[in-house]
């Protein structure tokens, strides 16, 4: 697919999504969706440097906060032009300010891009590790700067007052819908750029840096220049993602804006999704982003961060190629010539196990703190079933010979679990979902008895077809 075609298709998907969300008339959807979209941009931006070049950036929060603070500064300047300038300067400022959100996004991107360029110039000539450490330290220093800079609120923070409605041509949107739209366009844009880079000379240059920087340098790849390009683009997108933040929150202060969660999320999402292609960060961001939204509602925000950390460490150890890599590898061994129904079904079963497993763990964690012994017992068994399901998803995709057996056990115990729930509380509206889950699990168990599946898993690894 050509890049502009991809851009249009992605835009159309985005528009359909937006229209769907509008039709549901639920503001919470926009609030939650904005965060997920923001993480799509951040993860994609991180991946341009981290995944394509292999240089770890721990300072996502710094770039992100720079974008946010440039918006605050512009907003404040726009509101009090007379106070901070006079004469000709004031006249020029009156012409320019107040800026619209897209313009602020642009400014935030430029500021963060320049900082990224400077950072890269100072540290990228050394080993990659130094760059990683320097980005970590930079976050602390920029935070110190913002704490001491009174104009943008210092450590007290700054309030940004936004209008109620925005009219875009003939349409009138509420402000959160407008911000959601801006972030949606930004997400589409960042994905297009990432995909464009991946398939261009630039992307191949990045890949040579990731695989063997010394060899790349020796063959004449201008490594330093390429790395600088990567840091600048990556930093710019992070800044753009941060620019609308003050308007989204209405209040901004250094400790939260420079917080570690942004850095961890933007690393965890590409790592979990898969770092080698633009799909990875997208999948990772949608998965982790929505999981966090769910966990924030059902449990609390500290636990959802713990989940991200644990998932990151687990994936980095057990599946360093990420979800996309796992699926690709599975397809390469299970269906090398063309994608068969069997391979697709197994992928479907594995992803069902994965999602239900994680959701089961998240929804039942709070149960452990309950007073009633029954609820604690239910929560505990749900955790075990969830862990079993996760393990079986991994086993299925990795073509482990015990994979189908483990999956069968896990799915049957999930059926038992669902039945217990229905038996305990037959009147609740959740029963519909339990029945659906039972049906899917039963179908999956039945499918795993299929002869073709058995054949695929029974063969020793060496005999399995391998892609040419």
């Amino acid at each position: 697919m050509r890049s502009w075609v991809f851009f249009l298709v992605a835009l159309a998907v985005g528009a359909a999504f937006f229209a769907g969300a509008l039709a549901l008339r639920n503001d919470y959807l926009f609030f939650a969706g904005y965060v997920v979209l923001q993480y799509i941009v951040l993860a994609t931006a991180w991946n341009i440097l981290g995944g394509y070049c292999g240089y770890v950036n721990f300072g996502t929060a710094a770039f992100f906060a720079l974008g946010a603070y440039s918006s605050v500064a512009l907003h404040k300047l726009g509101a009090n032009i007379g106070k901070y300038s006079s004469g000709l300067v004031a006249d020029v400022l009156h012409l320019l300010l107040p800026l619209s959100i897209p313009a602020m996004v642009l400014v935030g991107g430029i500021v963060s891009g320049i900082v990224g360029l400077g950072m890269g110039y100072l540290t990228l000539r050394l080993r990659g590790v130094f760059f990683a450490i320097a980005t970590l330290a930079m976050a602390v220093v920029l935070q110190t700067l913002m704490i001491n800079w009174d104009f943008v609120g210092g450590s007290r923070g700054a309030y940004v007052i936004r209008s109620d409605k925005v009219s875009l041509g003939p349409f009138s949107l509420s402000y959160i819908e407008y911000l959601f739209l801006v972030m949606l366009v930004l997400a589409v844009l960042s994905l297009t750029v990432a995909r464009l880079i991946e398939r261009s000379r630039l992307g191949y240059g990045f890949a040579t840096i990731r695989d063997d920087e010394l060899a790349a340098e020796a063959t004449g790849v201008p490594t330093l220049r390429l790395k600088l390009v990567a840091t600048t683009i990556s930093g710019a997108f992070m800044g753009m993602a941060g620019a609308p933040l003050p308007y989204y929150l209405g209040y901004i202060e250094p400790a939260a804006t420079f917080g570690l969660p942004y850095a961890v999320n933007s690393i965890a999402m590409p790592m979990i999704g898969g770092t080698t292609s633009w799909v990875g960060p997208l999948i990772g961001a949608i998965l982790l982003g929505s999981l966090q939204q769910i966990a924030t509602v059902t449990i609390n925000s500290a636990v959802n961060l713990l989940i991200v950390g644990v998932l990151l460490v687990a994936f980095v150890i057990a599946a360093p190629i990420g979800i996309v890599g796992l699926v690709q590898e599975f397809v390469r061994t299970a269906a090398p010539s063309r994608l068969t129904t069997r391979a697709l079904s197994i992928i479907f079963i594995a992803s069902y196990c994965f999602i239900v497993g994680i959701l089961g763990i998240i929804f039942n964690l709070p149960g452990l703190q309950s007073q009633s012994a029954l609820v604690v017992w239910l929560g505990f068994s749900a955790l075990i079933v969830g862990a079993l399901l996760l393990a079986s998803a991994y086993g299925l995709l990795k073509l482990q010979s015990r994979g189908p057996l483990l999956t069968t056990i896990a799915l049957i115990s999930s059926i038992v679990f669902a039945a217990t729930h229905i038996w305990l509380d037959p009147m609740s509206p959740g029963v519909r979902w339990w029945v659906i889950a039972m049906a899917i699990a039963a179908a999956a168990v039945w499918y795993l008895q299929n002869k073709g599946v058995k054949l695929l898993y029974d063969r020793p690894l060496a005999d399995r077809p391998v892609a040419a």
Binding site: V141, N148, L306, V313
Partner: protein, 291 residues
């Protein structure tokens, strides 16, 4: 300049004492990063863990924090050896330590911090010990024992480690593993075992550094993050893997930070370390006593 002499001298003394403590914090990074090439950015998390253990035992049993640290040191050593084993099996053997190893340690840092927040909340915690209140005065120079005790403990730690590394067989093996693993293998020494021991020591002393930290200042789970920039700045500035260099660099940073805090205000102090780091990386990446 009109700076009063006593203020100046006190700033220098405070800086030296702070620097001594920084040396204890950094020594272990010098071992793991400078000698073993394991970029353990989760280091501050282990220090905070040490602080909290000192805090728990101090508040429940009234034990001296430094005593607690010495007692818990073996446990931390085992923890370190276990972490290295995971790191080795999952990353180093596969040759993926650069990107994924960093992410792994970052994840550890994050998990520790969040877990501490979940258990203890974000309140500042502090310990009780007889030497936390009083101050020695010699002329107009102040020696708060709260700073002096950690400083002395830290310098002793650095000296002990330096002696261990240069005088014992295992210590020399640790130094050797940094230079040539193959040669070590030819001497029938298992480099992985050497690295595991060295990493264990590096984490083990975190207990001590943590106890010192909670004596110097009240601790909350995210304090550790401030130390990442500082620690690596000192490590790089001192010349990777050189313990005397680390001590000098730590004192230098301590003095500069103390000056900044005295003359410009404490809220600027964290920025100093970063300036140091960038300057070193740009001007002399090998550090003061670099190999």
């Amino acid at each position: 300049m009109g700076v009063p002499l006593d203020l100046l001298i006190n700033a220098i003394i405070a800086g030296l004492m702070l620097g001594g403590f920084y040396a204890a914090v950094t020594v272990r990074v010098s071992i793991s990063f400078g000698m073993l090439d394991v970029v353990n950015i989760a280091h501050p998390a282990f220090i905070i863990l040490g602080s909290y253990i000192a805090y728990i035992l101090n508040t429940t049993y009234g034990l001296d924090p430094i005593l607690v640290a010495i007692v818990t040191l073996p446990a931390f050593y085992l923890l370190g050896a276990a972490v290295y084993q995971i790191y080795y099996v999952a990353f180093e053997r596969r040759g993926q330590e650069a990107l994924r190893g960093l992410a792994f340690f970052f994840g550890l840092l994050f998990i520790t911090e969040v877990a501490l927040i979940l258990v203890f909340g974000v309140d500042y915690r502090y310990v009780q010990a007889p030497y936390i209140g009083p101050t020695w005065r010699i002329g107009f120079a102040d020696f708060p024992l709260r700073m002096l005790v950690p400083c002395v403990v830290s310098v002793l730690l650095v000296v002990a480690l330096q002696l261990y590394l240069t005088r014992t067989f295992m210590g020399r093996a640790v130094m050797a593993v940094a230079q040539d693993q193959l040669a070590l293998r030819l001497l029938a020494v298992d480099p992985i075992r050497v690295k595991r021991i060295a990493f264990g020591i590096s984490i083990g002393t975190a207990a001590l550094a943590g106890a010192c930290l909670i004596i110097i200042q009240p601790v909350e789970p995210s304090v550790g993050r401030e130390y990442i920039g500082r620690v690596f700045a000192i490590c790089v500035l001192g010349g990777m893997g050189s313990l005397p260099g680390t001590l000098i660099a730590a004192m230098l940073l301590g003095i500069v930070e103390s000056f900044t805090a005295t003359f410009y205000g404490p809220s600027w102090a964290p920025a100093v370390a970063f300036g140091f780091l960038l300057l070193t990386l740009a001007v002399r990446p090998a550090g003061i006593l670099g190999r």
